[in-house]
């Protein structure tokens, strides 16, 4: 906990730590999240080295390869961001269910934070898939089962975020958002299994039931990418959840202030003797 500035010479706290570990006094970072962020930055650099330099292009030299050439490198980022969006919406669904059960504000804040991070990852999934599709399939977009259900997923969670902005009462908002957060999650298994359930242009799972269709450094780059991107999701969530919490605190303060102002106005509107009695009682 930071100490409050006491003397007139020191206007603000300057934060704790030094160098790369310095934590901003007003920010959402803590010493732990800063260390985690630095480790993550190193891991990201290592991932980029494996994905773009060290792993070979897919030239179809072995039976497990598909002759995707250098395009296979897009998979090392496309698949991990897709898994991160599943994870984000799973967290939203679990937190929404926990809110409906416990009615604790923290679950609602967690659901909201994870939904927003999930929307970012879903948009990136669609964008990277579209880039890959343009050269592999010859089109930026196809109304294919996987692509369409993923677009629907993005629209559903954009709706979830819009709902949160539209409802002013925090309790009503949390309740309605929790229901939407749970219902929208039904689309996640539909997205995942769409390539098996319907005839799809999109390829089936690259790694399924411990029988990967790629091997060696390419498999390592993909698995390493999954670990790094999920860790990135956790780091983003730490900051986004704290921001959500700070916003909720500020909103509660605003509501308290508005209620106090409204009470003061109501007292001022009362006839003289009654207003005096109200002021005396408060």
């Amino acid at each position: 906990m930071n100490a409050q500035p006491s003397g007139p010479a020191v206007a603000r706290d300057t934060g704790t730590g030094a160098g790369l570990l310095r934590v901003h006094p007003d920010g959402t970072a803590s010493r732990g999240s800063r260390v985690f962020g630095l480790v993550l930055a190193v891991a990201l650099a290592a991932f980029l080295a494996f994905a773009l330099v060290l792993s070979p292009a897919d030239r179809g030299a072995t039976a497990s390869e598909n002759e995707m050439g250098d395009l296979v490198r897009i998979m090392y980022v496309h698949v991990p961001v897709a898994i991160a969006c599943y994870l984000a919406f799973l967290v939203t669904a679990v937190a929404s269910a926990a809110y409906l059960w416990k009615r604790t504000e923290g679950w609602d804040l967690l659901a909201a934070a994870s939904a927003e991070v999930g929307v970012v990852f879903t948009a990136l999934t669609l964008a990277t898939g579209s880039i890959w599709g343009h050269i592999a399939w010859g089109t930026w977009w196809e109304w294919d089962a996987r692509l369409t259900s993923t677009l629907l997923l993005l629209v559903l969670y954009l709706g979830y975020l819009a709902l949160r902005r539209a409802v002013l009462d925090p309790v009503v908002r949390a309740k309605r958002a929790a229901v939407v957060g749970l219902v929208a999650f039904v689309n996640v298994p539909i997205v995942h299994y769409s390539v098996d359930w319907w005839r799809s242009l999109h390829q089936t799972a690259t790694i399924s039931r411990f029988d990967p269709s790629i091997d060696g450094l390419k498999l390592f780059a993909l698995l390493f990418g999954m670990v790094v991107v999920q860790a990135l999701y956790v780091w983003l969530m730490i900051h986004r959840f704290r921001l959500q919490y700070a916003e909720a605190q500020l909103e509660a303060k605003g509501l308290d202030l508005a209620l106090a102002e409204r009470r003061a106005e109501a007292v001022a509107d009362l006839p003289g003797p009654l207003a005096g009695a109200q002021k005396g009682s408060s």
């Binding site: 490198r73 897009i74 990136l124 964008a127 983003l236 700070a246 916003e247």
Partner: protein, 52 residues
């Protein structure tokens, strides 16, 4: 041969585009979250920022 080199360059342009987009969006989102966190945090007393 020239055709093969041109095809590989084309593939790398798409690969660079995909990685560039992902990095740019995630960096922008992380920066937006951190900056907004500092702006909101400034309006809250330290005792209400329990992570500090």
């Amino acid at each position: 041969m020239a055709f093969l080199i041109a095809a590989q360059d084309d593939e790398w342009a798409y690969v660079a585009g995909a990685y560039g987009l992902v990095i740019a969006v995630l960096v922008a989102y992380a920066a937006w979250t951190i900056v907004r966190g500092r702006r909101i945090g400034r309006r809250l007393p330290p005792e209400e920022r329990r992570w500090m």
